[in-house]
Symmetry: C2
Subunit: 170 residues, 2 copies
């Protein structure tokens, strides 16, 4: 079974992201707009209880994290993904690092660039058209992420929330 | 902002439900298969913190609840909804009643028939074809629901999990 750990930003940010995702992201219907903290990893239904307990402990050791959506970016030339860039104090990176150290499966490929994907699986031409028209969009949202979500993937590719963990809960 | 309270059953049950929902339920892409405990109600983002706190308290006062999926049913003639019938000890009804008493918005239209919708928005003919072919399907799943989920709806009609609450957490 595949699991992942994400932040769902505020409704406002999700609605904004979806206004672009519906056209440019084939994963639009599989998962709401999100910031990935730990990309998908394998675990059994038995293991997941222990993972949930660890997550609970980690989450308590963090405070709610301020995030800002500041612009539209692209991972080109690494890949043709277009995203909302997330700026955040060091805490988001610290949380990311702690999660990846705790659930290390040797799967971490890139430096952590916090983002919300709004377009993917595009040809080079499509990417350059779409990114060309979106890159100058003025974007500014602020949000406080006070929860992280543990998800699992169904057979149809969609994601269900297993459990949420509040950051900094006493 | 619209909120709702549901149980997401185990992956096995969700995968089984989706195998039918993908053909018969136009809400297939908007929300994973679920048992509705409190149908959608309006609240502001400020109010929701208080709602979450109340839910936390309610959830602690319940134990994880055994559920069984026993057959495929239909709400006809009330409406053309086809569903997986959920059998459960009294506890599920008690939880439903407590949630609806706590968040009463005069919205409760029917007696509580716990179910997972697998088909809806069908014409009478379509309903009778589909239900005719599904109703004899042998179904038996068991699951322990140990969490409830508070969701909110995005502008595109899809649902995001706000927070989960474990039943019987000390």
């Amino acid at each position: 079974m595949k699991f992942g750990i994400v932040i769902f930003p505020s409704k406002k940010i999700q609605d904004f992201a979806n206004s672009m995702r519906r056209r440019y992201d084939p994963h639009y219907a599989l998962i709401p707009p999100h910031v990935t903290l730990k990309s998908s990893f394998e675990a059994t239904e038995e293991e997941i209880k222990e993972i949930a307990n660890k997550l609970d402990t980690i989450a308590r050791n963090f405070k709610p994290i301020n995030i800002q959506v500041t612009k539209i970016g692209s991972f080109k030339p690494v890949n043709n993904v277009i995203y909302l860039k997330i700026e955040s104090p060091e805490d988001l990176e610290r949380l990311h690092n702690e999660l990846n150290a705790t659930f290390d499966d040797g799967n971490q490929e890139y430096n952590f660039v916090p983002h919300i994907t709004i377009g993917q699986k595009m040809s080079d031409d499509e990417h350059s058209d779409v990114y060309g028209s979106l890159r100058m969009t003025k974007v500014h949202y602020e949000d406080t992420a006070d929860r992280i979500h543990l998800l699992y993937q169904l057979d149809n590719g969609s994601w269900t929330v297993y459990e949420t963990f509040r950051l900094g809960k006493e």
